[in-house]
């Protein structure tokens, strides 16, 4: 419990399981972000009015839709393709940017819960990387032992239940930066994990988005060029074309990896940077980096969307048109 550094985990942490699905903190966040996006869309839908001077949320929605439409159209230069690609590209952009920016909200990465196997009511509110100097501990053991104890520096205390079994060990640290409130609800100790984690800071999410993008590239290719699209991958007209086809297949797989690791790498690196800076100097030092991460979040969403629309568009143009 008494962590001595910032909480950094390269993979998303499991919160609980539903059926066979391990629900991680990034999945929870991405579901919340999806809900917020849908709620925003619903709000826009209910606020839409036929007017030549839109205001409020309608103005914002029109600005977003027009901006993204012109972004897609700048690549396709074709209204039919713009209309076809727009919903997916716009959702890529909004979904990624919302997930990126959600990760910068206070509480994301700092509200800690026990992972799977822990009692659901165990919650610690403390910044990431906090160490406990004076821990006021309320220990609710299997049954009635209730203890509150304050720790001095370099002191360690073991919390036991009425049978004398050690429930929890709390150590005081000299470089402590904050107090924390610890409630232990069950005898079994479990690892504390953040309740929320930016969806895009989870490789599973970025792989999913990469697979979707590359999968849609194949779909649009087949839709526009029919089976002729497959000549790109399987071409027996000459040994060189055949080799090129294999390279194209490798390239498509590399696109998924590229999409996934670029987005994951940038966002996760940003989270690590913020966690480390917050750990070193919690007050004002992180502020410029938050600004930087807002920019990075926007740029990454834009890069993902632009690359996707470029790949979509390229897939719909035959080699003859090239």
């Amino acid at each position: 419990m008494a962590a001595s550094g910032p909480h950094i985990s390269i993979s998303a942490e499991q919160l609980f399981s539903v059926g066979g699905l391990n629900v991680t903190n990034s999945m929870l966040t991405s579901v919340i972000v999806s809900g917020l996006l849908i709620a925003f869309a619903l709000w826009v839908r209910m606020s839409l009015k036929q007017t030549n001077r839109p205001t409020g949320v309608q103005n914002v929605a029109e600005w977003i839709v027009e901006g993204l439409t012109s972004l897609v159209h700048s690549v396709t230069n074709n209204k039919q393709r713009t209309d076809l690609f727009f919903p997916v590209i716009a959702t890529f952009f909004l979904f990624i940017i919302a997930n990126n920016w959600f990760g910068l909200l206070p509480g994301v990465g700092t509200i800690m819960v026990h992972g799977q196997g822990a009692a659901a009511n165990e919650v610690v509110l403390a910044p990431s990387g906090v160490t406990i100097k004076h821990a006021a501990m309320k220990v609710q053991a299997a049954e009635p032992v209730l203890t509150t104890q304050e720790l001095d520096e370099h002191e360690s205390v073991a919390v036991e239940n009425e049978d004398g079994a050690v429930l929890y060990q709390v150590e005081s640290e000299t470089e402590a930066v904050a107090d924390a409130h610890v409630e232990v609800g069950e005898t079994e100790h479990a690892e504390l994990v953040p309740l929320f984690r930016a969806g895009t800071a989870d490789l599973n999410m970025t792989i999913a988005l990469g697979l979707l993008s590359v999968g849609l590239v194949q779909y649009y290719g087949l839709k526009y060029l029919k089976l002729g699209y497959l000549k790109k991958y399987i071409n027996f007209s000459s040994p060189i074309y055949f080799a090129v086809g294999i390279l194209e297949i490798i390239l498509e797989a590399a696109k998924v990896v590229s999409f996934a690791f670029r987005l994951f790498g940038n966002i996760f690196a940003g989270e690590v940077l913020l966690a480390v800076i917050s750990y070193i100097a919690a007050l004002l030092a992180p502020m410029p980096f938050y600004g930087l991460e807002l920019f990075v979040g926007f740029i990454q969403a834009l890069v993902f969307s632009m690359l996707s629309v470029v790949f979509f568009n390229m897939a719909t143009i035959s080699h003859d048109e090239h």
């Binding site: 998303a12 925003f40 439409t69 999410m205």
Partner: protein, 161 residues
């Protein structure tokens, strides 16, 4: 780094749901609204252009009508001036005629009065001469005879006057 297929599938489904919901609730209605507005603005621009053309045509018509009206007005004014001059001449001619008639009438009346006065004076003179002759002669004198004798002298005196 744990790469788990169920989590990837979950995220794909999650993204699919978001795409569907946003398409239905956000993109389609907003795009439809933007297109309708664009059409409305285009129609309004066309209507404005047509109105401008109409206005231009009306301006030209107005200019032409004004020019014609000015010409008509000038013609009417010229005609009126001519009429006025003609009427003026008529009135002056009538006035002159009336004046001449009046003068003639007055002259005639004066001549009549003159004749009457001369006649009365002549009679009075004859009567006086007759009375004086009667006194000188001591006998009755015929006034007609005296009048006959004096007529030439009286006429000579009147002519001298």
């Amino acid at each position: 780094m744990d790469i788990e297929l169920p989590q990837i599938l979950f995220q794909i489904v999650n993204f699919g749901v978001v795409v569907g919901a946003l398409s239905f609730l956000l993109y389609k209605p907003v795009k439809k609204m933007l297109e309708e507005r664009s059409n409305r603005i285009e129609e309004a621009q066309k209507a404005a252009e047509s109105t401008l053309l109409e206005k231009k045509s009306l301006d030209e018509t107005k200019k032409r009508l004004l020019s014609e009206a000015e010409k008509d007005a000038q013609a009417i004014v010229d005609e009126a001036k001519k009429d006025a001059k003609r009427i003026e001449k008529d009135i002056i001619a009538q006035a002159k005629q009336v004046a001449a008639e009046e003068i003639e009438k007055e002259k005639k009346q004066l001549a009549d009065e003159y004749k009457t006065t001369v006649k009365q004076l002549r009679q009075a003179f004859v009567t006086e001469v007759a009375a004086m002759t009667e006194k000188v002669l001591g006998e009755a004198v015929d006034e007609k005879v005296i009048a006959k004798k004096l007529d030439k002298d009286i006429d000579a005196v009147i002519a001298k006057i």
